[in-house]
Symmetry: C2
Subunit: 325 residues, 2 copies
DNA sequence: CACTGGTCTGCAATCGATTGCAAACATTTT
DNA sequence: AAAATGTTTGCAATCGATTGCAGACCAGTG
């Protein structure tokens, strides 16, 4: 910077002002500086600016599983929104290969990130509500019950309701649920909506954990039931489970949706290109990412933000649902 | 830090040394400092350290499409490797919503990142080979032809060869290729391998761009051919295209693999849970990410690194391939 | 001409760590 | 006992930008 200053015949202070607050500098000076900047190819040093300004220009997203396509889309939305505001997106996995949580306090540090977006409802973050020495933390998609943190997520209850209401409307009187891990907040919310919409219908629950494997398990469990006890309409709490469940049945000779109807959750891109295309509850993933980013940015700049931001789910009616046999 | 120093009755220099180079400090002093650190809950300021050390502790990954599950898995591997070495992973999309490239020079800046992993073969980075004022750049998965940058990727030619050899072994004499964008390096490499393995076989090429949509298009194109001109074995250059192609045929009443055999590329997790499960060429995605990270880290610390690192593809023989009808 | 008020610019301190150098002290050798 | 060597520690400069304060300059006014 002092090179530029020398070349423009001014002090470093003035260069700094031209670059960050051009209004206060006289026209002529400003131009001289700009030219010197161009000539020297000067680029500001971020570490220095950040040190002085006590900020980092980074927002970190803590994801339980970076490899999950669902989160990938959300990160996409976040990245775009943050980039637009001049922030960088740092990502980190909250889980080790072993499945244990990593040391996350590494990121709970105002000198590492200006804000934190937590996408893992099981992260051990319950106790950091009031801590003023931390950068602002919000949760997105998932959230931590009882923790006083702003949240951005889909209206999962409504999503569950939509899915089961759809099956009920088609006439299904026995509905199967392939859920998430029992303690998971998404599981609980979706289940609540599902139960509400179920009304008089009979319900059979299959355990699950959102993964392909558990969908496959559920297919085995379904087939193990006596035919008269098999639910005719299945609501899987994730598209992956829905896919694996469907292929499990198909492979055994069952036909979807003639024999069984299936509704998924998430609407990951691929499922609309299966045969049959999966009926599912759509989460606006990019939008969730964008909104979460918007909200941390607001908090970072001290604006008031809502405690809860709910996005609307949407039923994508495709080819895996039909009236029961 | 000076608080800690005062509390421990030493100078800030000593505290610094205890924290970053404990060996040179006397046992007793070190313990006093450690205790003071614990008592005050002191945490180092990264901006300050980075400024002084002229580094950032970040590596940035530039991805053409963050939402793509394929890249998500790769980032996963990278993140783990980098975290192990104390580096943070910054991610950014190289493409705007519009599909145009973003201003990437924002990241070509030693004060922003210590290293850059480029996953977009079309990024306008051809001219930065020798520039010493930039952090080290390597390419992973894709690469830029003619640019002198270290690369890490699958042996794509061999992948193409494996796929077509498999179809040939099954007896297919007419093979269809669903390719990537014509200029794409992955397309060219895979096509070369495919051609090599094809030998005497007849080849029909369908245009594609790795997306689900183009797989669907290819299905239409295939069906538009007179039955005798339809290839019986299809090699799609991505799993997504393979999926969409397959469902396009299934929806039209064709049976896979009885009527047509299909081989994909990538082995994204979901395709092994379809009915029928997709035969495909596996890319070790996490491994690619890990290796790429390892290599930038090596370059950052000045070690010699190989110009090209090739990983081995593997044929995952599943249920979508069979002898021709 | 002196004075007021406003605009523009520079000085110097600051952000918080790291590190070369030298001083202080301890230990071993002659 | 003096000298040589080795170990620990502190001083002060440094990384590169930002910003409060005050001085310089200018125009307008009485």
């Amino acid at each position: 910077m002092s090179d530029v200053a020398q070349r423009a015949g001014v002090s470093a202070s003035t260069v700094s002002r031209v670059l960050s607050n051009p209004g206060v500098v006289a026209e002529a000076t400003r131009e001289a500086v700009m030219q010197a900047v161009a000539e020297t190819g000067y680029r500001m040093n971020h570490a220095a600016r950040n040190l002085r300004k006590q900020r980092t220009g980074c927002v970190v997203a803590l994801v339980p599983n970076l490899g999950n396509p669902f989160f990938a889309k959300i990160l996409d939305g976040m990245g775009r929104e943050l980039a637009g505001a001049g922030y960088d997106l740092l990502v980190a996995d909250t889980l080790e290969d072993s499945g244990r949580h990593t040391r996350l306090d590494r990121f709970l540090d105002p000198s590492r990130a200006d804000g934190i977006i937590l996408l893992d409802g099981l992260a051990p973050f319950g106790d950091l509500a009031g801590r003023a020495d931390l950068p602002p933390v919000i949760t997105a998609c998932e959230w931590i019950e009882g923790a006083d943190m702003p949240r951005v997520m889909l209206d999962n209850r409504e999503g569950g309701r939509l899915a089961v209401a759809h099956l009920r409307d088609l006439g299904h009187a026995h509905i199967g649920l392939i859920g998430g891990p029992p303690g998971n907040v998404l599981h609980k919310a979706r289940r609540k909506g599902a139960m509400q919409a179920a009304g008089q219908a009979r319900i059979t629950e299959f355990p699950g954990d959102f993964t392909l494997q558990s969908g496959q398990q559920a297919a085995l469990a379904w087939r193990a039931l006596p035919p008269s006890d098999r639910p005719t309409g299945i609501f899987a709490f994730s598209d992956e489970m829905a896919c694996a469940f469907m292929s499990g049945l198909q492979r055994a000779g069952h036909h979807v949706p003639r024999d069984v109807s299936i509704v998924g959750f998430d609407d990951i891109e691929l499922v609309s290109h299966l045969a049959p295309a999966l009926t599912t509850i759509r989460q606006p993933k990019r939008e969730i990412g964008r909104k979460a980013a918007r909200i941390v940015l607001d908090r970072i700049s001290g604006r008031e933000i809502p405690a809860v931001t709910l996005l609307e789910p949407r039923l994508m009616e495709r080819e895996t649902t039909a009236p029961p046999p």
